[in-house]
């Protein structure tokens, strides 16, 4: 083997920050113990005052956006939060939570386990940023024309089996149009704070319906996040947060049951086929 001369290992002496900086949260030290905070403030507002005067949705919006929402913004976010609160017991992320629950995994691990699966790019948080960017890119186009053009140009990409996501946030589900996302979007689109993304998505989805394609839940969430002014990179985490209650509820429901309370595929129905 060739003998090579190796570069001597030396530090680049990168300059790292002396302190962690944040614009979100201020902890005011107490007089006697610099590790103990006497007051907490979120974007300048005292936490105790926020607890007494504001809703959880107000606080949620403030935390991420830096200011309290208008009444219309709060209404839109709150209705989305209700709509997304439970992916349902058939969703793979919920099933991961239930599996952890019935398997007697530590309760504190149920949410991280299921949220990790919810991070997936297929109907999960991993699809939200792409959907936000897709709608931002096309929002000035006529959604019907864009849909028709994509259906024509991408027709050959439709897989012979399985679902087709023609664009991030839009596709078929179990071979057809998923109905609940469309219902959620229709309700949300009527709210005053609903904006151009949701409106564009409604038109795009409708134009796709003729090919058994429509809104996916991640697309609806992406449109609302965009209309509320969230940056696309926040989309994945926000989606996970909003779905988390349902994941935990289903996981804990199974945690109190015997391990036999969920199906375990029989040997007869378990087939090894290396081909």
């Amino acid at each position: 083997m060739e003998v090579r001369k190796h570069q001597k290992v030396t530090s680049r002496n990168d300059v790292f920050a002396d302190k962690i900086t944040t614009r979100i949260w201020e902890e005011v030290p107490s007089e006697n113990n610099p590790y103990i905070a006497s007051n907490n403030r979120c974007h300048g507002y005292d936490l105790i005052e926020l607890m007494q005067q504001k809703s959880y949705v107000d606080m949620f919006y403030l935390l991420f956006r830096g200011n309290l929402p208008s009444l219309d913004e709060r209404q839109l976010l709150e209705q989305l939060m209700v709509g997304l609160i439970n992916p349902g017991p058939r969703h793979p992320a919920t099933r991961a939570a239930m599996n952890a629950g019935v398997g007697k995994s530590d309760p504190q691990n149920i949410l991280p386990i299921s949220l990790t699966i919810m991070g997936g790019e297929y109907l999960g948080a991993g699809a939200v940023e792409g959907a936000m960017r897709f709608m931002r890119k096309h929002r000035r186009e006529n959604p019907v024309e864009t849909a028709d053009a994509m259906l024509t140009e991408l027709a050959e990409q439709r897989p012979k089996e399985g679902d087709w996501h023609i664009a991030p946030g839009f596709g078929s589900h179990f071979g057809g149009v998923d109905l609940m996302p469309s219902k959620l979007a229709a309700v949300l689109a009527r709210l005053p704070a609903s904006g151009s993304m949701l409106d564009w998505g409604m038109g795009f989805s409708s134009a796709l319906n003729k090919k058994e394609i429509g809104w996916l839940t991640v697309g609806v969430a992406a449109a609302v996040f965009a209309d509320l002014g969230f940056h696309p990179r926040y989309g994945a985490g926000l989606f996970q947060l909003l779905c988390a209650p349902g994941l935990l509820a289903h996981g804990m429901e199974q945690a109190n049951k015997p391990i036999t309370a969920m199906p375990f595929v029989s040997d007869k129905a378990y087939v090894i086929d290396y081909e």
Partner: protein, 270 residues
């Protein structure tokens, strides 16, 4: 609207068709065609089975030994490293060893460090080989790649962050030599890129570049490398977890309120 065809899903209900293996109670445990207890346990290394499960192919022992060595190279017990830092935080707040280690491993799904850049490294050297065979010179390949980054030598697998030079490359070269591996065409190309970058930018190949080229010579795809290395950093994270778990709680880099530099809005009332 037509009734959708759901036959794909109907066929899979209440049954599992595995291409990997399974356990049949009272019969045996099977893994990619091998009877695990009779043919694998005690006969092959753990890393060979890791690679079998990740790629579907049982590698020869030297390849698995090389992979095991590179796992040692890429995970060390320094809690300043980002994934290890997470393990240490888990220890200081008494999260479990499993949760903390997994959390650290999860952090390596990162654009900046860990396993994902390996995918890019393998993809780069394999694309560079295609370009070389398409009659671009190595110099032209380097120039083209640097042009994508404003003329700077930001090629995945070269110009290591934090430090210049990489002590892991000579260590793994020695491992490869002792295991009987020779230098293949991808590694030759990587060395040539290294030589050009050192001459022009004083930047050399890092462990990512070496691994990517070495494994490309063994015909691994970028996705296979990623899958084999999924838990690459686990041992270093565990070490940093244990270090802090065995000390008083919340003593890992404790922060006074004033240690956080608040740069947000001043106090305001509702």
């Amino acid at each position: 609207m037509n009734k959708p065809d759901t036959s794909l899903w109907d066929k899979q209900r209440n049954k599992i068709i595995s291409k990997k293996g399974g356990w049949f109670v009272g019969d045996g445990v099977y893994c990619h065609g091998y009877n695990m207890m009779d043919e694998l346990v005690g006969k092959v290394s753990y890393m060979q089975v890791v690679m079998l499960n990740a790629t579907g192919r049982l590698p020869k022992r030297p390849v698995a030994d090389w992979f095991e060595a590179v796992h040692i190279c890429l995970s060390w017990p320094d809690s300043r490293i980002w994934c290890n830092h997470i393990g240490a935080l888990g220890g200081t707040m008494r999260a479990s060893a499993v949760a903390s280690t997994v959390a650290g491993v999860l952090a390596t799904d990162s654009r900046s460090y860990g396993i994902k850049p390996l995918k890019e490294g393998v993809a780069f050297i394999q694309a560079a080989m295609v370009a070389l065979k398409g009659e671009l010179s190595v110099d032209e390949i380097v120039v083209n790649e640097c042009e994508k980054h404003g003329g700077k030598p930001y090629i995945m697998g070269y110009a290591r962050p934090i430090a210049k030079g990489d002590e892991r490359v000579p260590a793994m070269e020695l491992v490869a030599k002792n295991l009987g591996f020779s230098v293949g065409e991808h590694l030759k190309l990587a060395y040539e890129i290294d030589r050009i970058l050192l001459a022009q930018f004083n930047e050399g190949m890092n462990i990512n570049g070496y691994m990517s080229a070495f494994l490309s010579d063994l015909h691994f795809t970028s996705e296979e490398v990623y899958r084999i290395c999924a838990t690459l950093v686990a041992s270093g994270v565990s070490a940093c977890y244990v270090d802090m778990r065995d000390r008083p709680a919340e003593t890992f880099l404790p922060l006074k309120c004033d240690d956080i530099d608040f740069q947000g809005k001043p106090h305001r009332t509702l």
